[in-house]
């Protein structure tokens, strides 16, 4: 009962807020437009937390979810029943085919509760922050309308009980993102970025739509209750194992588009043209996680498609590394964060792809913690941008430590969390993923465990253990692939720590430098912007420790929805812990030596004079050597990958988008305005059709 009401209220508040700002925003609310949205999001955040606790206390493993139907959209009985006299319906009763039923339903379980709490909480803070950040914008109300619409769509996406509804709000979320990226449409870059995001996402959505169609073809239903039911999946798997793989690949394509994974990641960095709160909300914390959510939601399908899982992991791992490499050389603060987001999302997919209990839990957990510290970082960056008069290039400013102490401290916390330093939340989640990958690299034992993980119901599945050879991707066996991915991921975490702190040092350390655009107004942000920063910072510090590995709360909670979570590996993998800590510390210290110190040193060097002194300066040599041995290759790699990214991948992806236009240009000359040309083309078409069909006939 309570759950039902809560589930209905959570999307209702943002929807109301959206309608209120839409109707009254332009005329009456104007610069007060944020009130309905803040309150709407706040109330729904409150409800979400209550919901999460209710779910935790009420739902049991026997009844892991609850579906609340809001609106019965289209319900049709099967038409075949009066068939009677002709061919009697075959006795094999279509047990799997319920009547067609489209409805708006809300599915409440631990997975959606987690997503909801995270989403509404971050959204509320971002809305509060935005009321300060966007202050004075001409289209203040439009911004908040879009944000409320976005929050609503995202909530509905998370609460969807069918693939159809999911797809619907998937598109709605994409649309909101398009509108928000292009919010400052006067800027040509913003308009172009919006268009690009839309185009690239369409490619992914096409995959998703195909997947949904395949699900329909295969399962005859789109309801989660039906499709994700392990028994049904097992039955279908027995009939058509390849179909499951195809479905998973198609769904994953959709996830790749929305979650900005290689090679469809090109839109996300450009999307930074939108207002910074949008970047924080949509392109860091919530929307881009929709893909991760989708894959997690479809775990029952992915479990049976080892090849698809390998693909997920592989794409995730490659994306993580590639994006981290690119982030090394960026000078735009928001772009660094954007690439870092892409990289972290890659981590999540890497974890999900393992199909291990700890991997899935880790992926989801990383999603939650990442939402906190990445939103924090983005808002911090926004704060800097706000103070610097819209300048976001790190070469233009430095040493803001003293000028903006609040921002500096919170940003530092966020960076530490992102880098994965020990007690902070990023460490716990990243560590879980890494240990899962490590575990997966130990080979088939783990896989057998995963394959059986659909557990109690399928005695057969147990009877025919994974006799099939371990899955391969492009001819590489899973174990070796995971070994490779593990090292890639570890290296990525080093890079992550490095580029994060490079940004920190460049921005906040060193000599105080303020761009002209900021004028004399460079100041610390108002409290309305700082308070959300601190709340997020607290989350970024403690969330991991409170919910993560040490307590196991998160795993246990998630295990209600995804049954296999919680089994298998429990202990702490000290090898991984140490490795990741070492990586983080190394990354930070390298960044310190390169960007934290030289800013002070050069002056001393310059005054103390002489190449002798310079030569004797140990540090400097070290730096040089380091540079030659290590940094230069990486820089080269980074610029190479950036080059590749910009020219090849970008060109390819947008090229696919341009294909229809090119195709449209081809038949254009026929449309030259002459009636007789038209008649000729008609007749020629007719004659050819006639010829072909008559010849083929018979």
């Amino acid at each position: 009962m309570a759950i039902e009401w809560l589930a209905k209220l959570i999307p209702l508040f943002p929807l109301l807020a959206c309608l209120i700002t839409l109707v009254f925003g332009a005329r009456y609310l104007r610069e007060k437009s944020h009130y309905p949205v803040v309150f709407g999001c706040g109330l729904s955040a409150l409800c979400s937390l209550i919901l999460a606790f209710t779910v935790a206390s009420n739902q049991t493993a026997e009844e892991p979810f609850q579906t609340v139907t809001v609106y019965q959209w289209l319900a049709l009985d099967p038409v075949a029943e009066p068939l009677a006299e002709g061919a009697a319906p075959s006795s094999a009763a279509p047990a799997l085919t319920p009547p067609v039923n489209f409805s708006i339903s809300l599915r409440v379980d631990s997975l959606s509760a987690i997503m909801l709490s995270m989403l509404t909480f971050v959204a509320t803070l971002v809305a509060i922050y935005a009321s300060g950040y966007m202050h004075g914008d001409r289209s203040y109300w439009r911004f908040f309308t879009c944000v409320a619409l976005f929050v609503f769509s995202m909530i509905m996406l998370v609460l969807s009980a069918s693939f159809l509804q999911l797809y619907m709000f998937w598109e709605a979320v994409g649309l909101c993102s398009y509108m928000l990226i292009g919010f400052w449409y006067e800027k040509p870059e913003a308009a172009a970025a919006g268009k690009k995001a839309f185009l690239v996402n369409r490619i992914g959505d096409f995959g998703f739509a195909t997947g949904v169609f395949l699900i329909w073809v295969t399962f005859g239903s789109l309801e989660f209750q039906q499709v994700l039911n392990p028994e049904v999946v097992a039955a279908v798997f027995r009939a058509k194992p390849e179909m499951i793989t195809w479905i998973c690949v198609c769904l994953f394509t959709g996830a790749v588009g929305k979650s900005a994974q290689f090679p469809l990641h090109v839109w996300l960095p450009d999307a930074m043209e939108g207002p910074t709160p949008v970047s924080a909300l949509i392109h860091a914390a919530t929307m881009v996680t929709a893909g991760v959510y989708l894959v997690a939601r479809c775990t029952p399908l992915f479990i049976l498609a080892p090849e698809a899982r390998l693909l997920v992991s592989f794409v995730g791992g490659v994306t993580a590394l590639l994006a981290a490499l690119i982030a090394l050389t960026q000078t735009d603060l928001k772009r660094v964060l954007a690439y870092s987001t892409v990289s972290q999302l890659g981590y999540m997919f890497l974890g999900l792809g393992t199909g291990l209990a700890s991997g899935i839990a880790g992926g989801m957990f990383h999603l939650v913690t990442h939402a906190f510290f990445k939103a924090l970082l983005f808002l911090g960056a926004g704060s800097v941008m706000h103070a610097m008069g819209g300048v976001i290039d790190m070469r233009e400013f430095s040493g803001l430590r003293r000028l903006m102490p609040q921002t500096y401290r919170t940003f530092l916390i966020g960076s530490l969390a992102l880098a994965g330093l020990v007690p902070l939340s990023g460490f716990w989640s990243k560590d879980t993923i890494l240990s899962a990958v490590h575990e997966a690299s130990h080979g088939p034992a783990a896989h057998a465990g995963a394959a059986h993980a659909d557990s109690e119901h399928s005695a057969e599945a147990a009877a025919e253990p994974n006799v099939a050879p371990e899955p391969k991707l492009l001819g590489v066996s899973a174990t070796s692939l995971y070994t490779l991915l593990f090292w890639m991921a570890s290296f990525t975490s080093l890079l992550t720590a490095f580029y994060t702190f490079r940004a920190v040092f460049l921005t906040f350390w060193g000599e105080e430098k303020i761009p002209h655009a900021a004028g004399h107004h460079a100041h610390e942000s108002p409290p309305v912007m700082c308070i959300p920063l601190w709340i997020l910072a607290i989350g970024a510090i403690f969330l991991g420790g409170l919910l993560g590995h040490p307590t196991g709360i998160f795993d246990g909670f998630l295990a209600r929805t995804i049954p296999m979570v919680g089994e298998g590996h429990h202990g702490t993998d000290w090898y991984v812990v140490i490795l990741s800590t070492v990586c983080a510390v190394t990354g930070i210290s390298v960044a310190y030596f390169m960007y934290g110190l030289p800013s002070k040193l050069p002056e001393q060097i310059a005054t103390a004079a002489g190449p002798l002194y310079r030569a004797s300066c140990n540090k400097f040599y070290l730096d040089e050597i380091y540079r030659v041995l290590f940094v230069l290759p990486i820089l080269a790699l980074a610029s190479l990958s950036r080059l590749l990214d910009w020219s090849l991948i970008d060109g390819l992806v947008t090229g696919v988008g341009k294909l229809p236009g090119v195709a449209g240009r081809l038949p254009r000359p026929i449309q030259n305005g002459l009636v007789q040309f038209y008649a000729l083309a008609m007749m020629l078409g007719l004659a050819v059709l006639l010829w072909v069909l008559v010849i083929k006939q018979g």
Partner: protein
């Protein structure tokens, strides 16, 4: 074989050929009226086909259908007449190629290359043009090389010789 009784197929083939000839005419001829007449020629082919089928099947339907297509042709002819007269008033030409302003925006207009005209190519039926005595000698007339540039009006237009060489 020629001389033997015509069978259904013979009629159908004549119909098909009339239809095709009409099509070719419609596709190639640029005079609005000739185009319309070619469409009517197509309808004639259809009409022949219908009647042949009807008499083959031994029912009236073919003829009835054919009668209706005849009425339709009459209706269309009425509209065509009005339309062509108005169009001619606009451009002083019955050339269908004048009407090509509406097209894909970046396509070039298709213009005729000017061709040297040979005035003696004019042929006239044995009809006496109003206001002229038959057999009155007349100077040949050079034609506008391109539609729309020099539009001969009724008043200016020199009347060609009656009784000139004809046939083709």
């Amino acid at each position: 074989m020629p001389g033997s009784e015509p069978v259904l197929n013979n009629y159908l083939i004549v119909g098909a050929l009339l239809f095709t000839l009409g099509t070719i005419g419609f596709l190639t001829r640029r005079n609005l009226i000739v185009m319309f007449l070619c469409a009517e020629l197509m309808l004639q082919g259809v009409s022949l086909t219908l009647v042949a089928f009807g008499s083959f099947h031994g029912t009236w339907n073919g003829q009835v259908f054919s009668i209706f297509s005849l009425s339709l042709a009459a209706a269309e002819a009425g509209i065509a007449l009005a339309l062509f007269v108005v169009l001619f008033k606009r451009n002083h030409s019955l050339d269908v190629s004048i009407w090509q302003d509406l097209r894909e925006p970046d396509q070039p207009a298709i213009l005729d290359e000017p061709v040297a005209e040979t005035p003696d190519e004019q042929h006239w039926p044995h009809l006496t043009p109003a206001g002229l005595l038959p057999g009155e000698p007349h100077a040949p007339q050079g034609h506008a090389s391109h539609h729309g540039h020099a539009r001969p009006t009724l008043a200016q237009a020199p009347v060609a010789t009656a009784g000139g060489s004809h046939g083709n």
